[in-house]
Symmetry: C2
Subunit: 529 residues, 2 copies
Amino acid sequence: MTFHVYDTTLRDGAQQEGMNLSVADKLAIAPLLDELGVGFIEGGWPGAVPKDTDFFSRAAKELNLKNAVLAAFGATRKVGQRASEDPQVLALLNSGAPVITLVAKSDIRHVERALRTTAEENLAMITDTVAFLTGEGRRVVIDAEHFFDGYRFDPAYSRAAVLAAFEAGAEVVALCDTNGGMLPNWVGEIVAQVRADVGPEPILGMHAHNDTGCAVANSLAAVEAGCSHVQGTVNGYGERTGNADLITVVANLELKGGRTLLAGNGLEESSRIAHAISEITNISPYARQPYVGASAFAHKAGLHASAIKVDPDLYQHIDPTRVGNDMRMLISDMAGRASIELKGKELGFDLSGQGELLTRITNRVKTSEANGYTFDAADASFELLLIEEVNGERPPYFAVESWRTIVERTGHRGTDATAEATVKLMAGGERVVVTGEGNGPVNALDHALRLALTTVYPEISAFELIDFKVRILDQMQGTDAITRVLIETTDGHRSWSTVGVGPNLLEASWEALTDSAIYGLIHAGVAPR
Amino acid sequence: MTFHVYDTTLRDGAQQEGMNLSVADKLAIAPLLDELGVGFIEGGWPGAVPKDTDFFSRAAKELNLKNAVLAAFGATRKVGQRASEDPQVLALLNSGAPVITLVAKSDIRHVERALRTTAEENLAMITDTVAFLTGEGRRVVIDAEHFFDGYRFDPAYSRAAVLAAFEAGAEVVALCDTNGGMLPNWVGEIVAQVRADVGPEPILGMHAHNDTGCAVANSLAAVEAGCSHVQGTVNGYGERTGNADLITVVANLELKGGRTLLAGNGLEESSRIAHAISEITNISPYARQPYVGASAFAHKAGLHASAIKVDPDLYQHIDPTRVGNDMRMLISDMAGRASIELKGKELGFDLSGQGELLTRITNRVKTSEANGYTFDAADASFELLLIEEVNGERPPYFAVESWRTIVERTGHRGTDATAEATVKLMAGGERVVVTGEGNGPVNALDHALRLALTTVYPEISAFELIDFKVRILDQMQGTDAITRVLIETTDGHRSWSTVGVGPNLLEASWEALTDSAIYGLIHAGVAPR
């Protein structure tokens, strides 16, 4: 049987707190979903949300999807109106999307108390809208809203809604746990009953939310009980606790269940695609996300580290390359010497048999982390620490004499502030004094450092600061706060992260900026001049 | 049957990437776990980890637990050594913990390839260590490591390990999905088989990790199949994708399954406790966390907002007060006028029937969010926006003329930088010019603003900046980055969040700082002077 992987990142995912997708964002995400290999991309609600109308109009011209078809989301016709005359329904048709997904009420309480109509009229709304749109040549999916809650309250009515949709020509009825309160055994039982009601042919789908922490398991239970269409979102985005994380659901079904659901080698690209999408949504990736999270295959326990050297497969539930992820050894104050040795190997340093050096590095890591550094998020800074300990010093690209930033705003709210930074340093045997301007103090410091170094090291012009994170540490200790800055820099091909720590935000930023320049120059193969 | 809620936040949770718990942190978290009402608090591995040895020694003197007992985690005796002479085992005894939890191998491949001993010796290690410790009067829990993977490979050996533990006097055998690769139906089947093997009496436990996104569902499946002891961590902390989120597991079992598992009204305190623990671990809370997350009962869709006005119970899977959480309406550019009206009501503004005003506010929210503001994370800034639109202006506490910050470091790495800020403003009819110093520029600006206002508004001395977050927006647009600053301030009783946005980090900070002062003065009942 054909299996549908149906993505609703751009519609239900966009309901997430803090997410705000522009049309350009949606046009950038859709090709990534297509590359992932999903069958359906639900793009939004044309007609109801103006930017979604734009999205479908631009998508038709600008997108060239290879695997997926676009679905427009909307609702069944209004109470008492003809489907063919309902502007909301016509907007769906006019979106040009080949698939139209209609939310339909299937809980009698919602029909009576929220929609304020009769049981019969709601069924007629389903029948009419499905018949109209299929008559116009569209494939129709019904999202049976609040299905499980409704079924537990009045199974006959919820069943009637499903049957009405199929009889009118719907291709799929997706059973929605809209409030997210279901548990896997409840889902399994109800889906099995519905499957028995509708017979073996019609395509039943599952739409889960994670309010009980069971969205993935509920999706799996539904598939086991007879669903062959799963809806979800990349990174589990969605309102409240989010929707089912589509990549996790699919990875479980493919890697544990032996199915092939995504087009191409989608799963092997899934870590990259999940992170690329989080760059666009600007929602920080969740490190603990199953399969694709930065921590998903990261090991820190000293106990494990020594055993992993013996046999990595004993400590991983799957080979991380199956989802495009990597095993990582984390450097932290819980790391034993075995972890440091493995991490060194990962970075090209053979530390085996160098007991004293390993102890020194391990102790320095522990001390630094106690002071607020975090090397598991800043591999580049850890590598510089290794280089210092192994070689006795960092490559002496430059020596800083002083720096200063001035930021000021004269005038009222709305007037722009100005920022400048002056840096004095020695590089290539010359003393350099430069002033850089910027949007803000870190930007000005970055510009000034770059300006000061660019004559001697023109390679630095390829580096670009792409992320900057600030965290206040030690609030609970009652002492003055310490600031930790993480900076991510790219040279256009790869990116690296450095960390700076201190009571002063700009001093911490300066540490991370200079570390980043040094690391970048080392990896550009540049010798100190 | 007694049910064990067994917390391992302080031991397995501490394996999480980026987490670094001091003894003081552990001593601060343990009373919160006790307040939550768990039965067991696993505190660490005394003997193996020096700070865990300290923890148990200080816990015995300093903690006064009402509901929980402490468990010390360790391993079965070494290969070829007597349990009574193994320093690691003796350290567990010397910790004074009434419960000792021993990790024991139960996967024959790990016995042979990682431990490098025989099947028989591993069973003897379990028997000897359990017998020795129970002989010394301790309650013993066995964590059967890699149990499910082992059982799927060689069920007879894994079963033998469980039986050996019970025969030697273990009170509980917790079946561990150490690599986290299980799915709920696999767990259910295997636990049912083990239950049949050991008979109805012995206490079986479940220890799940979230690598398939099913840690919660796996725990529920295990309980359904015969486990009466669940292990997990607050906030799902743990290595890789984390452990089972203990609060989610318990909330499902209590609220959906009708059991009572936590002492006192623990579940009703769980949102507060989960957040308090994240303050100590300094790991940002995950907004989408089930039950206790900041977004768990937050609604943004305009579609829902209008219906929620009719009947909130139709849109929530449980009453959020059952877990000490709240329903929130989110203000965002997807918000319709109904959401804004509801949010206004929440804040004490009756906007019903004021169509034009509502439209103006809704449009301003949409425009601001398009420029980078995020009101769903900054209620105080939203309230100031409401006040401006309702009253035509904010209360004129002060008028800023200009501000400037200078940060400089003369001297090499390791020398402290200095930061100062000069603020010129009018307040109480006087022109004030002050310079404040600080650890960094935001701290200096905060001090200067406070100093400038404190004569006229002494109430401001009670306000304290407690959190400061920075995020770079719009990286994908190719234009210069915009910075968003979120500031949280407290007056000792309640806290509020404000947002500032701009190309300059310090200008954005200044906006959030001044908004925070204005909001705080309004809620302190102070009139402009």
